[in-house]
Symmetry: C2
Subunit: 199 residues, 2 copies
DNA sequence: ACCTGAACACCGTTCAAGT
DNA sequence: ACCTGAACACCGTTCAAGT
């Protein structure tokens, strides 16, 4: 394990303890028993450190689809896993949303989704559209869920949020299913105003 | 126009010029010709200022549905409007996602969506599910779109992103449509493992 | 290779005091 | 009501110098 990896591990531990706002180069250095300036041996700047943290959290999610079940089941497992890996760390969703360059783990998860949709019979274009829609829903849900600090997360509210997340996920899956089965609808509705004369 | 509103206007202008990272109480004060400490007469702290900024941006979007078209058309207009109002300001999506208490404008937009789905025949529960799904998709898409700073946004890439956004929006709408027309499916798939014996 | 020491140019926030 | 002046406890980052 390189020194860089040790710094990264300490950074994620500190994130869980104090949150993104208080994740400071000086506090991280203190936890490592060094001075803040020494961190710049391992990361070009704080932004690069945050990018690396986001990619490690994405890797913890494990983007590999399960071999059993139909495409919808596989999407469910992967979407729930993506949300879990973000919720597993304080401010995880916000961190993932604001890191700029997608790292190796994020790319692997994206490719896993693509494979599932391709095997379900989607064109390359429809597969890309489907994964984007799923990912945007998952990220949007989890960011809002985790950013909203009105009430501390209790066990009961977590259960309700899980149920709401799954219900919305079913809506998105139903939309992908409908689009998959009726590919001729892909280009519809591109010019709404032209419908008027016929209505 | 109260002094508080003038401060708010200056803050949004500064946001557009320098971005969220460089939106500083000291820079905002300089733009207003005062000292940073004086800002605390008008806002309890920086977080409260950011909340007020987010709510003003939400208000610019105008959450009122158009009277013409079916529910899907109204959802399209409102979703595209919500994205536009976030894109209209630098880091607008991130700002909206990280403000804690939803303000008056955000609540009004949410109620506008609910009305549309209720008039389309949705139960209160399904209407809430539908608006959450749409909003999560819109926010997730726009946050990623705006946060990703790999390439500066050119006119051509904006057109492509508009098309991708609308395509994913159609997928979500198709999913809501399917759920609306088959309400008996709402509780399906709640226990996947129990299906096994029958397959 | 990894770190220290010290500095630079900043932050958000508070508060007595002014007008 | 609104603002100043001055302070407090912090930031991210750089860089010569040490080992």
């Amino acid at each position: 394990m390189s020194r860089r990896d040790e710094v990264l591990t300490a950074a994620i531990e500190l994130l869980d303890e104090v949150g993104l706002d208080d994740l400071t180069t000086r506090r991280l250095a203190e936890r490592l028993g060094i001075r803040a300036g020494a961190l710049y041996r391992h990361f070009e700047n704080k932004r690069a450190l945050l990018d690396a943290m986001a990619d490690r959290i994405a890797a913890e999610g494990g983007g590999h689809p399960q071999p059993e079940g139909d495409w919808a089941d596989q999407v469910r497992v992967m979407a729930i896993g993506a949300r879990s890996s973000m919720l597993a760390h304080r401010d995880g969703a916000l961190l993932m949303a604001t890191f700029y360059l997608p790292g190796a783990a994020a790319v692997a998860a994206w490719k896993g989704f693509i494979v599932v949709f391709r095997e379900a019979g989607a064109s390359a274009r429809l597969a890309a559209l489907s994964v984007d829609t799923i990912v945007c829903y998952v990220n949007g849900f989890t960011i809002e869920e985790q950013a909203r600090k009105t009430t501390p997360p209790t066990a009961v509210s977590r259960r309700i949020r899980d149920r709401d997340f799954r219900a919305g996920l079913e809506v998105v899956i139903a939309g992908i299913d409908a689009t998959l089965r009726r590919p001729e609808l892909k280009a519809k509705r591109s010019a709404r105003s032209r419908d008027k004369p016929y209505s």
